[in-house]
Every structure is written in C-alpha cells, then in structure tokens.
C-alpha cells in the first residue's frame, strides 16, 4: 500500500479505481506468489528467494537437455519425440470449490486446459488429472458455512466430469485424500497435459501487434477471483464472495481450442496466453510486460451491458484467450474464428512505450508503467521457524491374525476403490488409452498410473502419476515431500515409464505463511524437493502454490494439513511394453523389491488402530533411485508380468490389490523379505517404507529377474495360486493372514460405491 502511495505521490496524482484494481490483481498472492519468491529467514539463516533456492535450483543444476521450457510459460515443456513436445500444468482451485464445488471444479479444469492451450504457441490438450482433499464423507455434522463433504465430493466429481467429458479430454489419473481439517477448506487440484509441435514451443509479442481477445464474452462473473483465492475462508464466504466464482462452458472452450490450433498452424500470431486469474488485466499485463499496451475497453465483447471499466478489465469470465497478432494477419485470423462461430475482437495494440494504457471511448482510465506494475511490489523478508516435533514411538500391536486390520485399511477413504468417480470420467476419448485407471481381470483394480498414446500413429506413450501423503506432514514435512516425490516416481515406473525421462510438478497447498511455524514446515518441504530432485535426477518443470488455506469458525482457525501434491509425467518408449498391477497367471513368482523398515508413523495401520506417532517413512536418497532404475529395466526387458508399488497400507494392501485385481490367489512366505532394523510381524505387513514394489515374474524368467535386480535388496516372497485366497505366512509364527479375495475386494469396493 505504501509503495503505491509513494508511486502516485511521485506522479503527483491520485490513482484511478482501475489502476488500483490492476495493482491488487497483479500483486495478489495468487498471481505473484510473493511469499514463496521472497527471502525467508529460516531459524535465523536467510534463504534468498525460497523457490529459486530449492525447486528451481534443482532443475537448473540438473540441466536435463530434454527440458525445453521450465517455470517460464503457462506450463512446463519437455521433449516427447522427434516432432512433438509435451507440456504439463497442475493448478489448484481451492477457494471457489469450497463455496461452489461444481462451479469451482468445473472452471478449475477449464482454467488449466487454457494454461496448456496458452503454452508456447498453443498445445493440444490430451489428458487431465484431478486430486481432491475433502473432509470425511461420513462426517456426522459440519460447521456453519461449510458444505458437507459427501455433497461437496459429488459436486467436485460432477464439475470435472462435465467439463472434461464435454471438451473431450480423458481424465486418467487422480486421488482422493480425506482428513477432518479439509472440511472448511477442501483442496481441488486439476492438471492438464498437452502436445505441441517442437517448433511451436516459444512465443514473443512484438511491437505493433494487435491485442485480440477470442472466445467467451466478458461478464461480471469471477470478479476478484484472484484476491479471493489469496484470503482465508470463513463462515460468510459463500454469501460475501460467490460473485468471485467463475461460470464455465466447456463447449465454448472446445470451439476456442479447435480454432486457435488452426490459427497456430497457419502462423497467424506471435504470442498467446489465457485469461485466467485476473482476466484481461493479467493476460495483457503479462504478455506486454516488455512492450506496454493500449487497450480500448469499450471494444471488449460483453455478456450484458453495465460493467464498469474495472470489471471489464479484471473479470475472470471463462473461455477467453488473448493473442498477439501482427497487423497484416488480423483479417485472416478473424476469418479463421468466424468460420466456426467463435468471437474474436481486436481490443488494442502492444505499443513499445512500456506503459499499460486503458481507455474507454477515448477517455483514458488508467496509465501504469509496466516496470512499476511488475517490479514495484516491495518484498518483505519472511520469518520461518522449525523445530522437530516430539513424536511418540509406540510399539505397534502384534496380533495372531491381521484380517481385520487389512479389511479396515482397504475400506478406509484414502485406500478404497474410486471406481464411482473414475467411471464417470471419459478416459477413452482421443483413442490413446493404453493403461487405464482401472485394470485387471474385471476391469476394476487400481492402476498405479495411466498411460496414454497422444500420437495415435505411434506407440510412444506418456505415463501420468501422482504422490501425496498429508498424514506424514504432521510428523515431518521434509519426509512428507520426499515420500510424495518417491511415490509419484514409483507410480509411473510401475507401469513402464523411463525414470530418466520423467519430470515432476509441485503444488503446495498450505496455511497462513505469516505463521512462522507454518512457513517453516513449507521451507522443510521445499528443501526436500531440492534434495530429492537432485538425488533422483528428476527435474521440476512447473509448479504452483496456494496459501492461506484456513477456515475460521467459532473463533477458531483450522489450518489444512500441509499438502504437497507431486505429479509425474514419464515417457514410455513403447506402450506395448507396459505392465499393469493385476496378477496374471498361477505359478508365477512374486518378488518384493526394496527393503522394509520399522516405519509405521502416519501409516494406515496406526490410523485404523487409533494410534498416534511412530517413525515416519524415510526416503533413502542413495537406494531409492537405484530401486526405480532396476525395476524400470526389468520391465523394459519384458521380465515383469505385473508390478505394483507399496504405499498406504504397505505390503499387505499391495498384495491384496494385486490378487483381487487379477482374480487369483497369492501365497506369501515372508521369510525371504528384505528387511532392515525391523522387528515384529505388523511392521513387515503394514510399514509404509517408500521405494518398494511387488513384482510378478514367470518361472522361466526367475534367474534373469534375479540378475537384473542385483545390487538392491529384494527377495522372492510368494507365488500366484488359483485358490482365490490371500495367504500369508510371517517370519516364524505361521499363517497371519488367510482371506478370500472376494472378501478383500468387497471391503475395498464398498465405501465409495455410491
């Protein structure tokens, strides 16, 4: 505020309302990410520009030649094949979804699709992902001003379904996390992957180019969306801020995609970006950052009359793109859009003066220097503290039989089948589905990741996976982040992606960063991002943060769990070599790859036994990458019939899922399981130590697999049977589990069979 005051005092005039709105939007946390790009004083030591020192730095130091454009454009771009690049972006749409789940999720997906369409000179969207964090759907009651999690989840699913299915984008990967602290402030992540010709990967508006807005008309929806997203939610948010939620129309956006890609291929524009948060203000402001621009606001097509200049400028009305068009191409460009009934309008010029000038019918309503707009925001150093929380380490209960524990974990919200959601999404459209989200003998087992072939003439594929575990964050945000990265990579490797050609994305959803401990937890997570990206050789290519995810009710503020989503995009060299997680044939052997340690902290075993504390699962930065590498090699050599990563619920849950997905039995003998500093049966069954896989191998490939995995701890722990039972003999005390796969599957299927 003081910087703005000083700036206009120097100019010797008062700012106009449009100028103030432009500054509020441009400088908002949502658009500028001012917290994470500030210096942070962490436990007394200054970290200059937190994101640059951690996430970006890892990518810079790794300098992978296949990274084409990272942290610059609307999405991160990497190489796909000789002709095409691929881009990926994941966004959050938390606050709109809290007060209007359908509209929030609908436009959340619509928005990230436009990020991809506005990436480089325009990418064709080929797949999408969604992750929801919500309160328990069986909550007895929820505080005033909140939507019950069951109704909320139904709205979110319908929102993604209706946008993705209509626009013709396969929604192929995702997750649902449940925690009471998400009741007032749910999290909604939507991601989109796009394909673009290699030579269309960069853009630059040029002096003299016309500013052209195409697609939907501008209305009063989504006013103050950017600033609303940056504030705390409270009991009255719905009444006060519902005008900040945008209204989506997938068909309008589909028409925009159809026509923009034609104009791209005809080479009719120099640059493109989407109207996202902050609307035209953000789009024109960012595109003309180096040049300056003049815009005549009365030319912007409106849904209805009566909008003020500021409303036209900052409205977040959906389905709009802004193009920078050389004057000689304007006529041809307008014809491309008119031919398919898409509105396209020249509203101004990129001038080269360095000023952003807005007029309405010739009257100047705003004049801001681009330099002040983009670089005038003062940065305050932030204070962050972190102390290892004191965590108790209770001895896990040892039992004679673990049937009840396993059934309970399979039926827990985070683990249970998401078929009810998945089948409402079209995962077949565009025709490139190679590994589906549901797989197995009955088409209903849980895939680790999805694989798409974006170019139908080729068998080259893209694997999409994700990793997240907010439960670990309560114990150790550093290990939470490390585990999320390992899990995202495990998931894509398990289906056949090349870990040396995999890129990852970070999405932080955190509480109020003015609280030093909350920010301290984020610093720890960011440090893990740097360390693990370096250890695994896996670059971050794009990311986003959403802060102030808190809900104020009854005089108390509830902060969401520290929630870092890691999304992975892996290249699959030949989709015909992919594997799925369902057991295939009786007689085959099952190997456990990766050591199991005594790590039940934050685990689902502790959850269903009502226990707190425990040692958090810890990533071994030396061994983890080796394990990924040997498993990837064994898959590429065709030695693997089925592969499943071990995550929530550990070994027992992974074995159960593989068995019922394949409709086969599994006899396990855990004597040969590789372990490290581990005592007791319950830890072996349910520990959530990362970097582990269960792998099904044919008898004839036994020796080859053994040799291919040399150098990492692994053991043959079982054999596939035709009995239809999961039988498990522990390390010395006889059978500790003997359950029919029908019973296991029913427990897993039931909770979300709505």
């Amino acid at each position: 505020m003081k910087a703005i005051q000083a700036h206009f005092r120097k100019l010797d005039r008062e700012p106009t309302d449009v100028e103030l709105e432009t500054l509020a939007q441009t400088w908002s946390e949502h658009c500028k990410h001012k917290t994470l790009t500030s210096d942070v004083v962490f436990n007394g030591t200054t970290i200059p520009n937190l994101l640059k020192s951690t996430v970006f730095r890892a990518t810079e130091e790794l300098a992978r030649p296949w990274c084409v454009s990272v942290f610059k454009d609307n999405a991160g771009i990497v190489e796909f094949d000789e002709k095409f690049n691929v881009c990926f972006k994941v966004e959050t749409h938390n606050h709109p979804s809290a007060i209007d789940p359908y509209g929030g999720a609908n436009t959340g997906l619509g928005g990230v699709i436009r990020d991809v369409l506005g990436c480089g000179l325009g990418a064709r969207p080929v797949g999408s992902t969604d992750v929801f964090c919500v309160g328990p759907p069986d909550a007895a009651s929820t505080p005033p001003g909140t939507i019950h999690p069951r109704r909320l989840l139904k709205g979110l699913v319908a929102g993604v379904r209706d946008y993705g299915n209509r626009i013709g984008l396969p929604t192929v990967n995702g997750a649902v996390f449940v925690d009471e602290r998400y009741i007032g402030n749910p999290l909604v992540y939507c991601g989109t992957v796009g394909i673009l010709p290699r030579e269309k990967s960069f853009k630059a508006a040029r002096k003299g180019d016309r500013v052209v807005v195409v697609g939907g008309r501008t209305g009063r929806d989504g006013i103050h969306g950017a600033t609303f997203s940056s504030a705390e939610l409270h009991e009255k948010s719905e009444a006060v801020s519902s005008g900040a939620v945008q209204i989506g129309n997938a068909i309008v956006e589909k028409k925009v995609i159809d026509t923009v890609l034609q104009a791209r291929d005809l080479g009719l524009y120099d640059a493109i970006t989407d109207c996202g948060a902050g609307g035209l203000s953000s789009a024109v402001g960012e595109m003309g950052e180096e040049l300056g621009a003049e815009v005549d606001l009365e030319k912007v097509p409106l849904k209805y009359e009566g909008l003020t200049c500021a409303e036209i400028w900052i409205s977040e009305a959906q389905e709009r793109m802004v193009l920078s068009v050389p004057p000689e191409h304007v006529d041809r460009l307008l014809k491309v859009f008119a031919a398919e009934d898409v509105e396209a309008t020249v509203i101004g010029t990129f001038t080269g003066t360095g000023d952003l000038v807005l007029r309405y019918s010739g009257h100047e309503v705003s004049r801001l220097g681009m330099e002040f707009l983009h670089h005038g925001l003062p940065r305050e150093p932030r204070v962050a503290t972190w102390a290892e929380p004191k965590v108790s380490d209770p001895r896990p209960p040892e039992k004679k039989d673990y049937r009840e524990d396993l059934l309970k974990i399979l039926g827990s919200w985070n683990v249970c089948s998401k078929e009810w959601i998945i089948r409402q999404y079209d995962h077949e459209v565009q025709g490139g589905s190679a590994v589906k989200p549901l797989t197995g003998a009955g088409d209903d087992g849980p895939s680790d990741a999805a694989v798409l072939r974006p170019i139908l003439g080729s068998h080259r594929g893209l694997a999409l996976g994700c990793g997240m575990n907010p439960r670990y964050g309560d114990l150790d945000p550093y290990q939470m982040a490390a585990n999320a990265i390992d899990e995202a990579l495990r998931n894509v490797v398990a289906v056949g992606a090349d870990p040396t050609r995999t890129a990852i994305l970070d999405n932080f959803s955190w509480g109020n960063p003015n609280d030093p401990e909350t920010l301290g937890a984020l610093v720890r997570a960011a440090q893990a991002c740097y360390d693990m990206a370096k250890a695994y050789g896996t670059p971050f290519i794009s990311g986003k943060d959403s802060l102030n995810n808190e809900f104020r009710t009854g005089g108390k503020t509830v902060r969401v769990p520290h929630s870092l989503l890691i999304s992975a995009l892996g290249i699959v060299h030949d989709a015909r070599r992919c594997v799925t997680m369902d057991l295939k044939e009786p007689g085959n052997f099952v190997w456990l790859v990766g050591p199991t340690r005594m790590e039940l902290g934050g685990s689902h075993f502790m959850l269903v036994n009502g226990l707190a504390g425990g040692k958090v699962p810890t990533v071994d930065p030396a061994m983890g990458p080796k394990i990924l590498s040997v498993v990837a090699r064994a898959i590429s050599e065709g030695l693997v019939r089925a592969c499943h990563d071990l995550s929530e619920g550990g070994l027992a849950v992974a074995a159960a899922e593989m068995a019922f997905a394949g409709g086969l039995g599994l006899n396990m003998f855990l004597e040969q399981a590789p372990v490290k500093l581990l005592t007791g049966e319950s830890a072996l069954l349910f520990s959530e130590t990362p970097s582990r896989f269960l792998v099904e191998v044919r008898e004839r490939d036994f020796g080859k697999f053994e040799r291919a995995t040399e150098g990492v701890p692994r053991g043959c722990v079982g054999q596939v049977t035709a009995t239809g039972r999961l039988e498990l003999v522990g390390r010395g005390r006889g059978k500790v589990l003997d359950v029919s796969i029908a019973e296991l599957k029913e427990a897993w299927r039931k909770p979300l069979a709505w």
């Binding site: 009934d341 999404y425 459209v429 025709g431 139908l456």
Partner: protein, 254 residues
C-alpha cells in the same frame, strides 16, 4: 481412392480418432466443419462414407444430439438422402447415433415423419465409461458379419435405446437390429453387461438398406491392441474396432 467425410461441429470431440480409424482401414479421410457443408452441399459428392462422430454437439443442451440433428434435418437432408440412395455408407457413433436418430435419419433416412425410436438417460442416471462386448445379430447390415463379436468402449450418459415394443418387433423382423450387448459367454444379461438399460440390449441399428449404421459404443476407441483393457493379460489380437472400418472400406473398394 475411397474417401470418408467426418463432419464436426461445436462440441464434437472424437473426430480425430475417427479420422485415424478411416485412414488405418484404407480410406482417405477429411474432417470438415458442418458450416462448410451447409455452404457447399455439393461436397457430399466427393465422398463414399459419411460419419457423424461422437462428442457433445452443442453441449447436448437441448438433449443429446438434438441441435445438431435439427441442423442436419433442416439444412442438409436432401444431400444426405441422395448420398444414401447412391449406395454409399453412413455411420453414426455415440453422439452421432443420437444425431441420426433424433434427426429421423434412423431407422429410415428416406421416410418422413417424427422419430420412431430414441436414446435417453442411462438407467444408472450418470455418465458411464466401461468396455462392453457386442454381438452382431442376423441383420441386413452390410457393416458386420452376423455372429461376430466386438469388444470396445462405451462412454455416454444418454445411451438407453427406447422404442415401443411393436416398433422394436418390426425392426427385428426387418433385420435392422444390428448389435446387442452380451456377456463373455455371448448371452444377453443385465447391468453392467448392458451398460445403459437399452431395451432388448440393443446397442446399434441400421436403416432398411443396411448401409446406414448407428451405434452407441465407440469402435474408434479400439484401433490398437493396447486399447483393450485386458491386453496385458492376453496374446495380441487384431483390434475389433478397426475391423468395422475395414469391412466398410472393402465393400466400397469393390
């Protein structure tokens, strides 16, 4: 050269894979916006196969396929009838089937009058994406061989085939019921074998000439063995969906 015309409009979204299906089968395929056909109906003369692909034409805002159906009926009915009379082939997939039915082009493109069959909301009440098994019934349809099976995906919210019993009796007697949903053993059964509650498990019908076919499942979603949901469990096989397009190509190449 045998040429296929795939028409698209606002909300068409399976056009690209439909073009690929035609090309893989041997056609030269063009993708044209419906506005171009309205401007120059004579374009139909250049093609031997006309396909209305899947999607959510105009958002299905007035009911699935309704707006696009009216567009074809009111602005393109004459060239389409001429196309059928000339012995050429027409295919409507999913939303394209809905369009053919709601425009009255199926079950009989040459008859006037209101539509006699329709496609409505799935019994489950929601959009469903799942793979189904289809059996080709004894019929007049030139696109399939009776007794053949095809496995491919359904992805729709409004795919339940509905008509008065007498109308369905008549269609069956006339050999116009082409495809039915069946289980692994080839028998008709309830949900999810029949994914939408279609009466008599009907998945696709043809016109009295056997040359105009409409179906809810998506043959263009099974053009590669890796599309099949259980491909990692079995030995590779010729993709079922592609076969449909090949039959059409062979017939038109003769």
């Amino acid at each position: 050269m045998v040429k296929a015309l795939v028409v698209r409009t606002a909300g068409t979204n399976t056009d690209l894979e439909t073009v690929v299906a035609c090309e893989k089968a041997g056609f030269r395929a063009d993708l044209l916006h419906v506005n171009r056909l309205v401007e120059r109906p004579a374009l139909f003369g250049e093609y031997q196969l006309f396909i209305v692909p899947g999607g959510f034409s105009y958002g299905d805002d007035l009911g699935s396929g309704r707006v696009f159906a009216n567009e074809l009926r009111l602005r393109l009915i004459d060239p389409i009838r001429e196309f059928v009379r000339a012995g050429k082939l027409v295919l409507g997939i999913c939303n394209g089937f809905q369009v053919l039915v709601k425009s009255g082009l199926l079950p009989d493109p040459l008859a006037d009058g209101p539509p006699s069959v329709t496609l409505t909301f799935n019994d489950s009440g929601r959009f469903e994406d799942r793979w189904v098994r289809l059996k080709a019934m004894p019929s007049k349809c030139v696109w399939v061989t009776p007794g053949d099976f095809m496995e491919t995906a359904v992805t729709h919210g409004e795919g339940k085939f509905v008509a008065p019993a007498a109308t369905i009796d008549r269609l069956e007697a006339a050999g116009q019921v082409v495809l039915k949903y069946v289980d692994a053993a080839g028998a008709e059964s309830g949900f999810p074998v029949n994914p939408n509650g279609s009466l008599r498990n009907i998945a696709g019908i043809c016109d009295p000439t056997g040359r105009v076919l409409g179906l809810m499942p998506h043959p263009e979603k099974h053009l590669d063995w890796t599309n099949h949901p259980r491909w990692t469990r079995k030995a590779p096989r010729d993709p079922d969906g592609l076969r449909l397009f090949r039959v059409a190509f062979e017939r038109l190449s003769r």
